[in-house]
C-alpha cells in the first residue's frame, strides 16, 4: 500500500451534509475512493450522494469499518471532531480547514500521537496516492501515478506543480499536503520519513515557503547517507519582512525564515532547488534521474 491510503481505505466524511461535503464525496467516489459513511450532526439526513449518513462517528465506524476520516467542520468545532474520529478508531484523519487556533492544533496533534494515528492538517487539501485513492479535494486531473513523492505546505501550489509534473510525464507516488499552519498533525520531518520508508517513492519534491523552520528538516534529511534524491521549490522571495502572507506560518521574522536562507541551506545539503516555478520540472527531473542512476549503481 502507499503511504497513508489506497483503494482499500474505507473513508467517512464528517460534515458530509454541507455543499462542500457533498461535492467532496462525489469527487472522491469518482476517483475510486471508498466513501462508506458520512456524519452530519444536526441534520436529519439518511443518505447524501448515495453515502449512508450516521448519527455520530462511533455509529458510522462500527457499522462500516471506516478507519479514515475527512473532516469538513468549521474551526470552532474542529478539535472535537478530530477527537471523535480518534475515539471511533480512525487511524488516518484529515482536517483541511484553515483559521484553526494553534492551541487546538497542538491538542489535535497530541491526541493523534497518543492514539498512534496520523493527522493531516490543518489547512490542507489532504493526501492523494494517484491511481489509487484520495482523501481530500485536490483536482484529480492534475495527478498521475509514478515514483515522485510530493510534500507541500500549500494546496494551490501543489495543484499547479502536480499539473506541471503530470504534463511533463513525471508521475507521483503520493502527494501529501502538510498544510500552511505552524503546528501540523503531520509535520515536514514526519512526512519525509513516511516517503523515505515508502517503496513506491524513489525521489521527493518538497514545496515550501517563507516562515517557520520546517524546510530545515528536509536539509537534515538530504544530508543523510541513505536519503532518497530530493528537490524543492521555496516560494516567497518577493514577500516583505514582518508581513503574514496568507498562511498563518508564512511570515519572515528573522533571517532563517527567508526564501534565500532556506534555498541556500537546501542546496548545501544536496537538494535540487528550483529558482521559481519556471524551472520546477527541471529540478524534479534531476531528482528522478539521480534516483535512476543510484538504482543502476547498486
Amino acid at each position: 500500500m502507499s503511504v497513508l491510503i489506497d483503494q482499500s481505505a474505507r473513508v467517512v466524511i464528517q460534515g458530509i451534509g454541507g455543499n462542500f461535503g457533498r461535492f467532496s464525496a462525489r469527487d472522491m467516489v469518482a476517483y475510486g475512493t471508498q466513501v462508506v459513511a458520512g456524519v452530519a450532526p444536526g441534520r436529519n439526513a439518511r443518505e447524501v450522494e448515495g453515502v449512508p449518513v450516521f448519527e455520530d462517528m462511533r455509529a458510522a465506524c462500527s457499522a462500516t469499518g471506516a478507519q479514515a476520516a475527512l473532516i469538513y467542520v468549521p474551526a470552532p468545532g474542529a478539535l472535537d471532531a478530530v477527537l471523535e474520529a480518534l475515539d471511533a478508531g480512525c487511524r488516518v484523519v484529515v482536517y483541511p480547514g484553515d483559521g484553526l487556533p494553534v492551541q487546538d492544533a497542538i491538542d489535535m496533534r497530541a491526541a493523534t500521537h497518543r492514539d498512534g494515528a496520523v493527522l493531516i492538517g490543518p489547512n490542507t487539501p489532504g493526501v492523494i496516492s494517484p491511481g489509487k485513492a484520495k482523501l481530500g479535494f485536490m483536482p484529480s486531473f492534475c495527478y498521475m501515478p509514478g515514483k515522485l513523492g510530493v510534500i507541500s505546505r500549500s494546496g494551490s501550489l501543489s495543484y499547479e506543480v502536480a499539473w506541471r509534473l503530470t504534463t511533463a510525464g513525471i508521475g507521483q507516488s503520493s502527494a501529501i499536503g502538510i498544510g500552511g499552519d505552524p503546528v501540523k498533525g503531520l509535520n515536514a520531518a514526519e512526512a519525509i520519513e513516511l516517503l523515505h520508508n515508502d517503496p513506491d517513492t524513489e525521489a521527493m519534491l518538497y514545496l515550501g515557503e517563507i516562515g517557520g523552520n520546517e524546510e530545515y528538516a528536509l536539509a537534515r534529511y538530504a544530508a543523510r547517507a541513505d536519503a532518497k534524491p530530493t528537490a524543492a521549490l521555496i516560494v516567497g522571495s518577493a514577500a516583505p519582512r514582518g508581513k503574514k502572507m496568507g498562511h498563518a506560518a508564512a511570515l519572515v521574522g528573522s533571517q532563517v525564515d527567508t526564501q534565500a536562507a532556506k534555498a541556500e541551506a537546501l542546496r548545501k545539503a544536496g537538494v535540487h532547488v528550483a529558482n521559481s516555478l519556471r524551472d520546477l520540472v527541471l529540478v524534479a527531473q534531476h531528482a528522478m534521474s539521480q534516483s535512476e542512476k543510484e538504482v543502476l549503481d547498486t
Binding site: D27, A75, P76, P125, G180, A238, G242, S254, S276
Partner: protein
C-alpha cells in the same frame, strides 16, 4: 497579532507576574499628574517589534525632560506606526536583565520556553536556550530547571524563572497567545523578578473565543491603508506591496509563487491578494474594485488554480465583472483547476482569453506594463 506593551502588562499583572506601576498618557500634558518621582521611562506604545532600537524608549530625569521626550515620541513613527499612547513608568535600578519567553514552535508540535541569561535590546545576538516541550501538559518544571542549570549559575534565580515560566504557559494557553516575551526581565536588588517589557502576540484564529482579540483585530484593520482595510473586511487576504501588477489570486502558496515570477520579470507585484477565503462574486468584485481604484496598478493578473473552488463558476463571475467594469486597466487571466473544461467554454463565450500557463500570462502582463 501583537498587542501593545501596556495591554500586555495588564495581562501579565492579572496573572500574578510583577510589572512596574505605570500610567498611560494620550498627550504630553497628562504627565503633569505623574506623582511617582523621577527618573522615569517614557515608552511609545506601538504593535511592532524593534521599538527599543528605533529610539521608542526615552529616559527622563525631570518633568521638563519628560515633556520633551513625550513630545518627540508622539511626533515619530516606530516601525511605520505613530504611537497613540505612551506608557510612563519609574526608571528602576536593577541588578541584572534576563530574557524569558514562550512561543509556538512548529518542530516541537507546540510551545517552546526560551531563556537567555543576558536580556535587553541585543538579545538576538546570541540564540537563547530553548526548551521545546510541545503540548502544554508536557511542560516539566524539572526538565526546564535541568536545562537552565547549564547556563544559569544563580540557583535562587533559577527557581524564580522556573515558577515564572509556569505562569507564562498558563497565561499563553488562557489567552491563546502565540508568543509572550519578557525582555528585559529585571532581577531586582532583592532578587525578585519584574517584567520591564511585554511583547504578546495573540492568535488571530482564536478571535472567535476572545472578544479582546476580535476587538484588537478590528483596531489593527483600521490602521491599514484603506484598500487593505476594505479587503480584510471583505474576508480577502491582502498585503500591500506597492508595485505595478495587481494580483487576484487563490491560495497563499500560488499567490507567493506568482509574486516571485512577477519580481523575477523585473516588475513589482502591487499586492499579495488571496481570494480563496471568499471565492464569491462579492469577493472578486471587491478585489477588482480595489485594484481598479489604485493608480499605481497598471495591469491585473488573475491567477487561480482551484481545488475546492469551481473554476467554471469563477469564470462566469469574471465574465460578469468584465462586462460591468468601467476601468480600462488590462486584465490577464490564467485559470485552471476543478471544472476547467467548462471554465474554458465560459471564458470563450465571454470573449476572454485564458492564458495556458502562468508564465505566459505574466509575460503578457509585464509586456503591457513596459509599453509606454
Amino acid at each position: 497579532m501583537m498587542i501593545t506593551e501596556h495591554k500586555g502588562k495588564l495581562l501579565l499583572g492579572t496573572h500574578g507576574i510583577a510589572v512596574p506601576h505605570g500610567s498611560l498618557i494620550r498627550e504630553p500634558n497628562q504627565l503633569r499628574s505623574w506623582r511617582n518621582g523621577f527618573p522615569i521611562a517614557v515608552k511609545a506604545q506601538v504593535s511592532s517589534g524593534g521599538r527599543g532600537r528605533a529610539g521608542g524608549v526615552l529616559r527622563a530625569a525631570n518633568m521638563e525632560e519628560a515633556e520633551a521626550a513625550a513630545q518627540r515620541l508622539f511626533e515619530n513613527d516606530f516601525s511605520g506606526e505613530r504611537p497613540q499612547t505612551l506608557l510612563v513608568e519609574p526608571w528602576l535600578d536593577h541588578a541584572r536583565e534576563i530574557y524569558l519567553g514562550i512561543t509556538v514552535d512548529g518542530m516541537a508540535g507546540g510551545y517552546a520556553m526560551l531563556y537567555a541569561p543576558a536580556g535587553g535590546v541585543e538579545v538576538e545576538q546570541q540564540a537563547p536556550l530553548e526548551y521545546p516541550f510541545g503540548a502544554p501538559r508536557n511542560f516539566k518544571a524539572h526538565g526546564f530547571r535541568r536545562l537552565l542549570a547549564d547556563i544559569e549559575q544563580d540557583c535562587a534565580l533559577r527557581e524564580r524563572v522556573v515558577a515564572l515560566a509556569r505562569r507564562l504557559l498558563f497565561l499563553a494557553t488562557a489567552i491563546d497567545a502565540i508568543t509572550i516575551e519578557i525582555n528585559p526581565l529585571a532581577v531586582m536588588p532583592d532578587g525578585k523578578l519584574l517584567a520591564l517589557d511585554a511583547k504578546i502576540v495573540l492568535d488571530e484564529a482564536a478571535a472567535f473565543r476572545h472578544a479582546e482579540t476580535s476587538d484588537e483585530l478590528e483596531r489593527a484593520r483600521k490602521k491599514e491603508r484603506p484598500a487593505v482595510a476594505k479587503a480584510l473586511a471583505g474576508n480577502l487576504m491582502m498585503v500591500w506591496l506597492g508595485g505595478e501588477v495587481g494580483l487576484v489570486s487563490g491560495g497563499a502558496g500560488m499567490t507567493m509563487a506568482a509574486m516571485d515570477l512577477i519580481a523575477d520579470a523585473g516588475l513589482k507585484p502591487a499586492c499579495f491578494l488571496d481570494c480563496s477565503s471568499n471565492p464569491t462574486p462579492a469577493g472578486y468584485q471587491l478585489a477588482f474594485k480595489l485594484l481598479d481604484a489604485e493608480p499605481e496598478v497598471r495591469a491585473i493578473l488573475v491567477s487561480i488554480f482551484g481545488g475546492g473552488t469551481h473554476m467554471d463558476r469563477v469564470a462566469r463571475v469574471m465574465g460578469d465583472i468584465m462586462k460591468k467594469r468601467r476601468s480600462r486597466k488590462p486584465v490577464f487571466f490564467r485559470m485552471n483547476g476543478t471544472g476547467r473544461d467548462k471554465a474554458d467554454a465560459v471564458m470563450r463565450e465571454a470573449g476572454l482569453y485564458n492564458y495556458p500557463t502562468l508564465e505566459s500570462a505574466i509575460d503578457a502582463a509585464v509586456a503591457e506594463v513596459r509599453t509606454p
